[in-house]
């Protein structure tokens, strides 16, 4: 046993297995609670160390030190200094929401800190308002828009720990072969590129439209086009207003992109991992992707196109470029007995040094602006400048308490129009009606 | 109608030789019994005739033609199985009529023929019942009915009465015999009950360890057993066989068993002498008609006859007397043997030694 494992006593086989499965098994493996954390044993203070329990992702989705391999020494030191013992429960991304839902419904969530991906509004009642507790220094170093998805009813209930916006990934080799020298800048470019790149058994574009709901689902993807077209989801009163030209244009653009050369399996892929697999196998030339996939996509062990990937901001619609927010955040539950300590741990996760190791060792971008600007970081994470550039334009994922229900409704209608069962117009109208009834019955 | 002939039938199951060179001819219309102890190959032989099992080697002939390659159905044999093998999910009527139904006979005809058979076997009132709702004897008769309705060329019975009580067994025996007399169908009947065999058969084939030890009429096998095995197997009570010595001294011939020496008229003994086994049936042992004095050990009165067992040394000898005879254990009687009923066997081979000293 090496030191690392002492610090992170998780089954390494399980992790590596999941990496290889690239999310295929995600949502599927039933995992028990993790073994208790071992690091602080022997050095107990008179009152004994305080225990903090954390529910989080498994890599390759973003995860804190101790689950992923970075900043482990600093993490051990933090625990000693704060007389704390941190234990993790890390499960596949697709299982986290359901686990939270059941635990919160029971009234006894066992965790102090939980990972959130757009569910802060939904679980708002169960989350502590930590906005007041985090240091002003940290707050001022984060993009203000990053608080959008972790704020509900005016209360800041979480901190995003990685800048996660979708940007364009493209295969530079395919571009060269097709005589394309720069990434597409507009929707027209994208359609034209997609057509030109669709040849030799390859497709210009690939996406995951299989799962309608949640962050990264079909509806969420459409929201990027919606904002590019100049539309938005809700009015001041929270009622849907996307049944307009922008909403229909966004849906129509998905259809046009489909016809121009979207990889046909796209309608069946249920996660970003499925899509990335097609892209990294060199079977599709372009995709929208989260920054955390940059590193695995460039890893020669897992990717056939390592080193041949370009990144760019998403092509602009009528209103310019825009993206969606992955909203990977940490929150503190109201059930926590040590909310201050828990907040402190979150601050540790966001400490500059940890943020730097996070991106250098795992590829998950930091959220701290100062770290993002760091030369060493920009040299290592070549996509960081692009993501930063993308962040200058809107990137709202429009999370609400009924986010999954809303996205399920919209996403299902989008699947129908992509499959040509109805027109974009009809689909958006139907989706809008359903969302109106969901939102009003809230 | 057909005769059945087995030519050098051998059947092996791995190392077990269930049939070893079985030769047998059953004439057309004849009733032959296969008799032998459990495991001697009776069922196997029957299955080979039926075509349910293939012989390892040898030929089965019916009506003079080799039928080895014919299906059971084509051989036109009907069989009554050791455990009836009625179809549990079919009514009595369906069980009996199944074979006609398979032959796509008209419904009317099936009903009529089932009715006839049922009446003959006294099953008419239980036609709609399931087999499990019948008594053992009724099930037995359904099994018979299922065979009879086919009017086959050959009947095979595999210990059909083994599950019945003694009284029912005797009654069924009469029914089968009557059936055979009425229909005259060539029949092979398997049993391990020698009384059943004797009472039913035109001829009996006694089997032992897969081969036929002797074939003959009931009289033959009873009176002229070819081997010690057959002699012991046939007859009730079992023949007493002694391991003694035949001695001739001073013109007198005697069979010596331990301390007893039975005097035997010269013409009744084989010409050879020495170590021979001697068998005698109970009806050939005479009491109090001269001879050696011996004590009575056991008396078994059976109504029409009485078995009296006499003993000396370690030996026992049973005598059958007609009617009720009054003896008491310990009583001394004189014992003599009817020379006509004495059988001698070669000790080594078990084969009978004929009066001229030759082996049977």
């Amino acid at each position: 046993m090496d030191d690392r494992r002492l610090v992170a006593p998780r089954g390494l086989t399980r992790r590596s297995l999941l990496k290889r499965g690239a999310g295929l098994g995600a949502g599927a493996l039933a995992l028990g609670a993790m073994p208790p954390f071992l690091a602080a044993c022997g050095s107990s203070t008179p009152s004994g160390p305080k225990e903090l329990k954390v529910l989080t992702n498994q890599p390759p989705d973003p995860a804190p030190p101790g689950v992923a391999d970075y900043s482990e020494e600093a993490f051990a030191t933090w625990q000693t200094d704060n007389a704390a013992r941190v234990s993790y429960e890390s499960i596949p991304y697709t299982q986290i929401h359901d686990k939270l839902a059941t635990a919160f419904a029971s009234g006894n969530p066992p965790w102090d800190i939980v990972y959130m991906s757009g569910w802060v509004p939904e679980f708002s009642k169960n989350l502590a308002t930590i906005g007041d507790m985090i240091s002003a220094e940290l707050k001022s170093d984060l993009p203000p828009s990053s608080f959008k998805t972790v704020t509900w009813d005016g209360k800041i209930q979480g901190v995003v720990f990685t800048l996660s916006l979708m940007t364009l990934f493209y295969n530079t080799e395919h571009f060269e072969q097709a005589g394309l020298s720069e990434p597409p800048k507009t929707w027209d470019d994208l359609l034209r590129y997609t057509k030109e790149l669709t040849r030799d058994g390859r497709y210009g574009w690939v996406n995951n439209y299989g799962a309608p709901e949640g962050i990264g689902g079909t509806a969420n993807l459409w929201m990027s086009y919606l904002q590019q077209a100049g539309g938005t989801m809700y009015d001041e009163g929270g009622l849907p207003i996307f049944n307009d030209a922008a909403g229909v244009d966004a849906a129509q653009f998905m259809i046009d992109l489909w016809d121009a050369g979207t990889e046909p399996g796209s309608i069946s892929y249920v996660g970003i991992a499925d899509t990335t697999n097609v892209f990294t196998a060199g079977k599709a030339s372009m995709m929208m992707n989260w920054p955390f996939m940059w590193k695995p996509a460039n890893d020669p062990a897992a990717s056939a196109i390592a080193g041949k990937i370009g990144a760019a901001v998403l092509p602009a619609g009528a209103a310019g470029t825009a993206s969606i927010d992955g909203t990977d955040a940490f929150t503190v539950t109201t059930a926590s007995k040590s909310p201050e300590l828990a907040t402190k741990l979150i601050e540790f996760y966001l400490a500059p040094e940890v943020q730097k190791r996070q991106v250098l060792d795992t590829g998950w971008l930091p959220i701290r602006l100062s770290t993002l600007e760091d030369a060493e970081v920009q040299a290592a994470a070549t996509n960081a400048p692009i993501v930063l550039e993308q962040a200058k334009s809107p990137y709202d994922s429009f999370v609400t308490p009924d986010y999954i229900e809303v996205t399920q409704a919209i996403g299902t209608e989008l699947q129908r129009c992509i499959r040509k069962e109805k027109s974009a117009q009809q689909a958006i109208k139907d989706a809008s009606d359903q969302v109106a009834s969901i939102v009003t019955s809230r | 109608m057909a005769d059945v002939e087995l030519r050098a039938i051998t059947k092996r199951y791995g190392a077990v030789e269930a049939c070893a060179d079985v030769n047998l001819h059953v004439a057309d219309g004849e009733f032959v019994t296969l008799l032998g102890p459990s495991g001697c190959g009776k069922t196997t032989t029957l299955n080979i005739i039926a075509g349910l099992d293939e012989p390892t080697s040898g030929e089965v002939l019916m009506g003079g033609k080799v039928v080895n390659d014919l299906t059971p159905y084509e051989r036109d044999v009907a069989m009554v199985f050791q455990n009836y093998a009625l179809y549990p999910h079919m009514s009595v009527a369906d069980n009996i009529g199944f074979t006609l139904r398979l032959r796509k006979r008209p419904r009317d005809e099936i009903r009529r023929r089932v009715q006839t058979v049922a009446e003959m076997l006294e099953l008419a009132h239980v036609l709609e019942r399931l087999p499990r709702e019948l008594s053992g004897g009724q099930q037995q008769r359904v099994a018979l009915g299922r065979a009879v309705i086919r009017e086959p060329a050959v009947f095979l019975f595999d210990e059909p009465f083994s599950n019945l009580d003694a009284a029912l067994r005797v009654k069924m025996r009469v029914e089968v015999k009557e059936l055979h007399q009425r229909l005259g169908i060539t029949s092979l009947f398997v049993t391990h009950d020698q009384e059943e065999a004797l009472s039913l058969s035109d001829r009996i084939a006694i089997m032992r360890d897969g081969h036929v030890e002797q074939v003959g009429t009931p009289d033959d096998v009873y009176a002229q057993p070819r081997t010690r095995y057959v002699a012991r197997f046939i007859g009730s009570p079992q023949m007493d066989i002694f391991t003694g010595r035949l001695e001739r001294r001073d013109g007198i011939t005697a069979y010596v068993v331990g301390s007893a020496a039975f005097e035997i008229p010269g013409e009744a003994a084989p010409t050879c002498d020495g170590e021979l086994d001697m068998g005698v049936r109970a009806e050939h042992v005479r009491l109090n008609a001269g001879g050696i004095p011996m004590p009575v050990r056991v008396v078994q009165p059976l109504g029409s006859m009485t078995y009296v067992t006499i003993g000396w040394d370690e030996e026992l000898l049973t005598s059958r007397l007609l009617g009720m005879a009054h003896f008491s254990p310990g009583e001394a009687v004189t014992v003599s043997l009817d020379p006509a009923g004495l059988l001698f066997f070669d000790r080594e081979s078990g084969r009978r030694v004929l009066p001229d000293g030759a082996l049977a």
Partner: protein, 312 residues
């Protein structure tokens, strides 16, 4: 003279049988209580929940709404679709599984099929963890690098790769194939056990009666297997309604709800939408259907036992 069945029953003058019954009741009471606790309580709680408006966030403060949830469901086209999908799924799965399993069982029961390796191979799909099975099929069906499209196009059977999970009708049937593949082994084993219980002698009897292979199957094997087959049908129906893993891993109910079935809908509404009351209503409808099937199972089973007693 009878033995007093313990201090519980004092000699009160009641008959021995009555005292015996009382003692028996006292003895099974704890077990009944435990059963009530672990079985009846959740069922009752679920029924109660289906009459409430309750969210995951504050489900302890649910409001009684009567049959509202059921009304909502019956007006919901997604529920109607899920119900249709569930019924289609159950009927096809049961029919195919039982027929194919019966065929396999007959092959395995044939002297040439008795080789034990066949049985081990047969058991592989069944031994796979449900999720492993789902992941396996996800790879098989993957339209871009799945083995099915690879083989199909390489052999020329498929002119173009097919998006197996992208077309509503295709997706549901693709899942069915995966499900059936996994479900066949167990039913095969049940039927094989049933076949081996058919007395060999009946086959000999039917051969002598002149039955060919088909007639033997029709008149001897099938009636003898009747109870086993009925049990298989009922069990498989219940299992079919419970299917979840394949939908969860492969399609998440899509595309356009084409693979959404009641069980998955109950999950989605409860744990994804957080509407526990409505989810419970879906689950209770499913429970009701399975309860009817379970009753059928008990009915099928009872005559068989009576018959055994009758034979003995």
């Amino acid at each position: 003279m009878t033995i007093d069945p313990g201090a519980v029953a004092r000699p009160t003058g009641r008959s021995y049988l009555a005292r015996r019954r009382r003692t028996g009741t006292l003895l099974v009471l704890p077990a009944l209580a435990v059963l009530a606790l672990i079985l009846a309580l959740p069922i009752a709680a679920s029924l109660a929940l289906s009459l409430m408006d309750a969210d995951t966030a504050d489900f302890r403060f649910g409001v009684f709404v009567g049959l509202d949830n059921y009304r909502t469901l019956f007006a919901d086209p997604v529920f109607a679709l899920a119900l249709r999908n569930s019924i289609y799924w159950m009927v096809v799965e049961v029919a195919v599984v039982v027929v194919v399993a019966l065929w396999f069982a007959l092959l395995l029961n044939h002297p040439m099929g008795r080789w034990s390796v066949f049985r081990i191979i047969l058991l592989v799909p069944w031994a796979l963890a449900p999720v492993a099975n789902a992941v396996l099929w996800k790879w098989i069906y993957n339209s871009s690098y799945g083995i099915l499209n690879f083989l199909g196009t390489a052999t020329g059977v498929l002119p173009d790769p097919v998006v197996w999970l992208g077309d509503p009708g295709l997706a549901l049937n693709a899942l069915l194939v995966a499900e059936i593949w996994k479900e066949i082994p167990f039913i095969t084993l049940l039927l094989l056990a049933g076949l081996q219980n058919v007395p060999r002698i009946l086959y000999r009897a039917s051969r002598l009666d002149g039955a060919g292979p088909w007639q033997t199957f029709r008149f001897v094997t099938l009636p003898q297997l009747r109870t086993t087959i009925l049990i298989c049908i009922v069990l498989q129906s219940i299992w079919a309604l419970k299917s979840f893993d394949l939908v969860y891993v492969l399609t998440r109910g899509g595309p356009a709800n084409a693979t959404t079935m009641l069980n998955f809908l109950a999950y989605r509404v409860s744990f994804q939408f957080g509407n526990l009351g409505l989810g419970a209503a879906v689950a209770d409808i499913l429970f009701f259907v399975m309860f009817l099937l379970a009753l059928a199972y008990v009915r099928v089973f009872r005559p068989a036992r009576a018959a055994e007693r009758g034979v003995a």
